[in-house]
Amino acid sequence: MASFLINTLGLPAWLAWTITATVSAALILNVMAVGALVFIWAERKIAARIQDRLGPTRTGGKFGWLQSVADGIKLLAKEDLMPEGADGLLFRIAPYVSFCASFAAFIALPFAFDFVGQRLNVGVFYVVAVLGLEVFGVILAGYASASKWSLFGAMREAAQVVSYEVPLGMCVVVPVMLAGSMDLVTIAEKQAGWFTNWYLFHDPFTFVIFWVYFTCAVASVNRAPFDLAEAESELVAGFHTEYSGLRWSFFFMAEYGSMFLVSALASVLFLGGWNGPVPIASLLGLSEGTGDTAGYLVRLVGCLNLILKSTLGVVVMMWVRWTLPRLRIDQVMTTCLKYCTPIAAVMFAGAMLWSFFLPGGLVGIAGRRILSRPAGEIREGWLKGPGGRGRDVVSSRPITEAAMMPAPLHSDDGRRVSR
């Protein structure tokens, strides 16, 4: 789009890039906001079904699908309260910090082959790092609220999220290692083909590490049974006890946004990203990289694929939330430090050895040739010697260069620009 603006309309580069960024941001913002609305409604309905009731049935006709909108209007109309003694600036800024962190992480998330806000060759690192910033909003909220319950919530959040970043990072590194890239688009591309190519089924270690990742992801976005920061029966509402109206809803949006994001990240890293279980497109002879209508449709279907997988992850989180009791803070930390971290470390080592000795992956051993090659490529890269190692495991391009320079992804006729 930017190159179109520059080349065809003759706009200056800075303006073209600004317009492009604004449009992308607006699109992602919409995805996130609408996603949050849908998920809030879905959570109501799912919780209701689990609990033997109907949930909203009347708002907006059938299925109460306007319930979230009605909720939003109610929240907008609510009085914006700030407790006496609160730190005004921090209190006001905290929800936006949380929201921005959740939102910013969406930028590097590929919805389909080219459907990505900004393709980064350190996409995994970027998403995990930016998502980790969400905790600042929570800590600020707890600190600034002048409420003891909020403070407890913030302290719990700080302890919990910082601890869970460690196993989460270890889990995330495994697909990176297998794909030989930190670029989320590349990682998903390498899992193209049948579902056996998904890193979930690559070897037993990746299978285990997917579940560790999911556990840690649930913990890092503060969902039950790890929702200690807002534990209702203990801390009233935790860090957002003193929030009301729109500010509160920003925390809510951030939570649902993060839920979707970690699920989408799980899909990209372990479940083939936008690649369906059966490569229908390539069986039909279509390619997702072309610029014609067919290629566009393939990418659209891929996008739906990813959203479906992520939604599945979110639904599982809801299911868990409405079933299990909450853990205690020491048990949460035990789970992290005594179980998740060692398991992740062992699985990381296992996956590393596996991909070195059996690069074909699990199904490759059975003699099926349809399996992915990336692991084999890594091995070849390693066998080339010390010079080849670094090049293949991480992207050959120095990180700083790509991250600083917004390179056009594709020209406007849809062909990919070689990088």
């Binding site: 033997d52 407890f152 719990r156 009233v236 009791p325 853990l327 020491d330």
Partner: protein
């Protein structure tokens, strides 16, 4: 501090006692924080206010403050006749109002030496045991809520709703029944009621296994309750704890078996085993999930489990009562008149309510209006042990312990 109970007499603010050996010592002494839990806190079961002295997540002392639901029920009792006070007993333990009605009615009947008909006796057993089931269902569901799981609460309320429907059909009210009254019951059961009751029991029986799956045997639930808030047998007796709290500590006492004759006569001919652990076993425990290895007798898990067992026990009693009640051909009999005079004197009777031993004391000067009406609350005694149980626990354990005591503030404050 020198008292054996260790409850501070002065204000917490004035008296920061850190030299208590029972409080866990730390290498780094950090600032303490006084936190108000309640009276508007979601998990203090009404309007209980707890002042917690915390060091980080660790609670060094809990001081309960009560009185937010005081409604002068006892004073009002001195201005109403014995039967007119029945609705006020409803509002004490509003989750087991039938059992409260029964307690007061029996106390007055004891003073008046009045005997109800056989039919009324069996109907009272039936109704009181159904009331116990409904109370324990709330206790169980709300306990799940205290531990952060919402769904079992609604599953429990779904079943309780059916009991309330039955009660509504019998007496017209769903929460404050005033059904059992002095000298009998206000009305007999409507036709077809027993059949519905049996249908409910048949449908309810398998649901209990669901509760066991969701709570009793759930790994997180066990982690949160086993070994938490251990109430030793001696302490339970010292503090006058009763009901499931006492039996959860392994004390074999149940007023339905060990109480005064006017009360135990009600259960004459009924077969039931007191739900208490004896020689490491609960009665008929082969039918229930095993006790988790890290559970200690007297902890939250055992208190919860005793309630679960009592639900089954009460179902059994209801079935027996249905048989006996339908075998009775004599009429139910009318309750006493509103203005029936009581003989001068006094009477005290403790009955086994779902929350514990509820005592009613009535002093009469020969009129129909008691000179003094007094209620001994079981929840009050059970709550008084809280500050002992919460010493050195985590904040998250406080709702777990309060919930396992299953208190109801209407009864404590009266």
């Amino acid at each position: 501090m020198d008292e054996p109970g260790g409850i501070s007499r002065g204000s917490l603010l004035e008296d920061p006692r850190l030299d208590d050996q029972r409080i866990i010592e730390f290498d780094v002494r950090t600032d303490e924080m006084l936190v108000n839990m309640g009276p508007q806190h979601p998990s203090t079961h009404g309007v209980l206010r707890l002042v917690l002295r915390t060091d980080g997540e660790i609670v060094s002392e809990v001081e309960p403050h009560i009185g937010y639901l005081h409604r002068c029920a006892e004073k009002i009792g001195e201005n109403l006749t014995h039967r007119q006070w029945i609705p006020y007993t409803d509002r004490m333990d509003y989750l087991a109002a039938m059992n409260m009605n029964l307690g007061w009615a029996l106390a007055v009947e004891k003073l008046m030496r009045h005997r109800v008909s056989e039919r009324a006796r069996h109907l009272r057993v039936l109704i009181a045991e159904l009331g116990r089931i409904s109370s324990h269902l709330v206790g169980m569901g709300a306990y799940g809520l205290d531990l952060g799981t919402f769904s079992p609460f609604l599953y429990a309320f779904r079943e309780r709703e059916k009991i309330l429907d039955l009660f509504e059909e019998a007496c017209g009210a769903r929460l404050t029944y005033s059904y059992i009254t002095v000298g009998g019951l206000t009305a007999d059961l409507p036709p077809g009621w027993l059949l519905k009751c049996e249908q409910f029991l048949d449908q309810f029986e398998p649901v209990i296994q669901e509760y066991h799956a969701l709570l009793t045997t759930n790994a997180i639930f066990v982690k949160r309750t086993a070994g938490i808030g251990v109430l030793p047998r001696e302490m339970a007796i010292d503090y006058g704890c009763s009901g499931p709290v006492l039996r959860g500590s392994g004390v074999d006492q149940d007023m339905r078996r060990d109480g005064e004759s006017i009360y135990t006569a009600m259960y004459d001919g009924y077969a039931f085993e007191v739900a208490v652990m004896k020689n490491g076993h609960y009665p008929r425990d082969h039918a229930y999930p095993p006790v988790p290895s890290d559970a200690v007798l007297g902890d939250c898990w055992h208190r919860f489990f005793v309630r679960m067992l009592e639900v089954v026990q009460s179902m059994d009693l209801v079935r027996q009562a249905i048989d006996r009640y339908s075998a009775c051909k004599e009429p139910l009999g009318e309750p006493l008149k509103l203005t029936e005079k009581m003989p001068a004197g006094d009477a005290y009777l403790e009955t086994e309510c779902p929350k514990g031993q509820m005592g009613f004391y009535v002093v009469s000067d020969g009129t129909a209006i008691p000179w003094r009406a007094r209620a001994r609350s079981s929840s009050f005694s059970n709550l008084s042990v809280l500050s002992e149980l919460c010493r050195g626990c985590l904040i998250a354990d406080v709702p777990a312990i309060v919930g396992s005591l299953d208190i109801v503030m209407g009864e404590i404050d009266r």
